[in-house]
Amino acid sequence: MSSRRAGQIAALIVAGYLIFQLVGLKTVGLTDDDDFYIPAGIEYAKWLGQALSIDTSAFSKAGVDRAFSPNHEHPPFAKYVFGVCHFALSRWLGPYDSARVGTVLFSTLSAALLFVLAIFHLGARRGLFAGTVAVLLLLTLPRYYFHSHAATLDVPVAAMYLLAATLALLAERRAWAAWATGIAFGLATATKLNGPFMIVPYVIFAFLVRRGAGRGKTQAQPGLISLPQIPLALVSMALIGPVVFFGIWPWMWFDVVQRVPEYVGFHLNHYGIYFLYFGTLYDKNPFAPWHAPLTMAAITVPLATSGLALFGAWLGRTAVWSRIARPQAYEESYKREGDLILSCLLHAAVSVAVVCFSGGPKYGGAKLFMPFYPFFCLLAGYGAMRLYEVLQDDLRLRWLPVVATGLAVLASLSLQLKFGGYALSQYNAAAGGLRGATALGFERQYYDIAFRDLVAWLNDNAPDKTRVHFLPNNWEYVRTYKWYKKGGELRSDISVTRSPSAAQWVIVTHERRFARYGNDLLGIRDKEVLMEKRVDGVPIFSVMKMR
């Protein structure tokens, strides 16, 4: 099979990925972060319009501050995309789903990049196999799927991180990619704080595979501390990356001495966010323990996906070790394979380790280490491919790896379909599903999701001028329901009241990370239950009639 042919098939699969993502757009409820990033994106895109029409006031400090002060604690790249999508698509999709198409596009980019990595490093046929499995597992990964629909920065940074990592790896063999790496790295850094950490695994990778390539000669088996040739991609990241980062973030153009430390300081001293872990509530001092992100990954990624990824890492060890021990030996195709697996392992490990060990906050289930997932799925795709290769010559057994991989995708899909718009409530069988995880003391949902089936139910059932109040954290729903009203999705006479005593209906969202939840239950349990949404037997929200 030619690379061109493989590329065409891959493009078709990526198109399918995009369609599958778009189909889910209206099933995923707004999160509390949507209300930060969508308005900011709209302001940034307006500014972009001004700038492109050479309106000089856009470039003044006042013009920049006016446009970029909303949500200036996070860099702007993804928000530009949200804003542009909002203006391009809101006529058809409404004010928020239009912006969220931006995240779907980032997610689709991550799927396309998995194919690029796989086909370039494993060859057309093998790469198409591994890439297809990786993309299917990514598509059916419930938590990645959810975050692929929220106008937040987690999937965008996963995609931009992956783009920078892909180009850096291609740059080992293509000079143009080295310069593009600098641009991609700048964009990743300008997406979210996970972006710049991409340089850590890349430097480790470059050191390991470039030993012996310095000083104009190659050594088949260099010493461990032989100096490597400095990669052009690293130079590009160091020189072009900061130019792109500052160039696309006008907020940093003025008062830079004050604003850069302000940006870094915000994240170094991040306020606490509640996180329920084995029944204990954490926010700050201390944050959750170091192993919390690893546990969250272990109990949320479908088990067979994890199994395939671990087998992939195991089966790829020879190629990796060959690349480390004798970086300049072996034929090119084997080197490429080793590069791919080594790179995936390093990026997957570092993107989780940063959250585990950086001393920063740990919260929000799996959202803080989204860049981990594409690499992990690619390892799983590679594992499936290697299993197939071992048995492909045996006509009686060659179907077994295909069936096992098919079952892995099916299992992932079954979790995806079961949890649907409740994907942040999804846990795998290791935790006993959602019911087991809830009993174990994990959060049954987070991100204060304003579920859309609840909105539809309210439209159908609430009497005229109903005032509702959410417990235990009403203030987030005041923000998200405002969007539903603006988009015409919520009846205009229904309002979210700030005072529970003024509400006719109280909606309990059963978020145990709020310490008041137990007391809230005591206060409402004698009221009439109008509707209760249960997933996997676990209450997610209950609508209570107060009077």
């Binding site: 204990t280 479908p302 079954s414 009993a439």
Partner: protein, 301 residues
């Protein structure tokens, strides 16, 4: 041959792992607990309950299932180790999905098909609580005096958010369990916001005479929410005056400082205890109290 065998084993493992998740993906919902069974579980919990016990229920119960608890102050929160060490804990759990946390119950009782009642005895020195304001809070425990000594309102009206409000008084004067950030920790306590020109008065019931070798002790603590302290420089001190019968037995001052302030007082049997809470200026005095009457062995310091 070896590679083929390994690949076959790996395929089997992947299929097995997929099967486990498929089982989760395709299974039905956890069956609701029948009302009769819930009622039986709660009735058993009440039967074995002693004063001062901590009552816990599974986090999986729906609100409809929780109705069976009535006014019983049970919560879905995992008891902290220090609570397990000092208090007897009763847990009404789902049999199919046991709650994480307490281990080695002293007593386990299956209730119907879906429930199990577990009793955990305290692992540390035993004090027997005979009254705990947090868990025994009811209507008529709080009253507002305005001016001090003159009854203005009895707090007997149920609040939508839980607890009891005081008719004719401001909405922020009420009795309810709250969770406040005190001393950097989320602490369970009873809301006790003082009011300028009046007193917020909790009445604890008259304790019975202790057995020989035991003392009756009031463990009293008061604290203000951390942000109320840090955000109100010069905030006024709150005073908790304890009176038993007509005798003033002690006074706890809660100054504008982060953290808990504590006092222990000996009690006599047979007379109720009033905790009268006052302050000269009530601005941002987000104050909260805990009060327990315990039977303490006389040899324990």
């Amino acid at each position: 041959m070896k590679a083929t065998s390994s690949a076959l084993i790996l395929c089997g493992l992947i299929a097995g792992l997929a099967g486990l998740d498929l089982q989760v993906g395709l299974r039905g919902d956890l069956a609701p607990v029948p009302q009769a069974e819930m009622a039986e579980g709660v009735s058993r919990m009440k039967a074995v309950r002693r004063p001062g016990d901590v009552l816990v229920h599974s986090p999986l119960f729906s609100v409809a299932e929780l109705k069976a608890f009535g006014d019983l102050q049970a919560r879905p929160d995992r008891p902290r180790p220090e609570v397990l060490a000092a208090r007897r804990v009763l847990l009404l759990d789902r049999a199919q999905a046991p709650m994480f946390g307490p281990k080695n119950p002293a007593q386990t009782e299956a209730i119907g098909e879906h429930l199990v009642l577990k009793v955990f005895e305290p692992s540390g020195d035993v004090e027997v609580p005979v009254f705990d304001l947090l868990t025994d809070l009811g209507p008529n425990v709080l009253r507002i005096e305005r001016p001090v000594g003159v009854l203005k309102s009895r707090c007997t009206k149920r609040r939508a958010e839980g607890g009891w409000s005081c008719p004719g008084e401001a909405e922020w004067l009420y009795a309810a369990p709250r969770t406040l950030r005190i001393g950097g920790k989320n602490e369970e306590c009873v809301w006790a916001h003082p009011t300028t020109g009046g007193a917020v008065v909790f009445t604890l019931p008259a304790p019975e005479a202790p057995a020989a070798g035991q003392d009756l002790v009031l463990e009293l603590s008061g604290g203000m929410a951390d942000d109320a302290v840090t955000g109100t420089p010069g905030g006024a001190t709150v005073t908790i005056q304890a009176t038993q019968g007509s005798k003033k037995i002690g006074r706890l001052l809660v100054p504008n400082k982060v953290g808990w302030h504590r006092l222990e007082l000996s009690l006599e049997p047979g007379a109720p205890v009033d905790l009268s809470i006052t302050t000269p200026r009530d601005g941002r005095r987000h104050h909260c109290v805990n009060a327990r009457i315990v039977l303490r062995p006389q040899d324990k310091p």
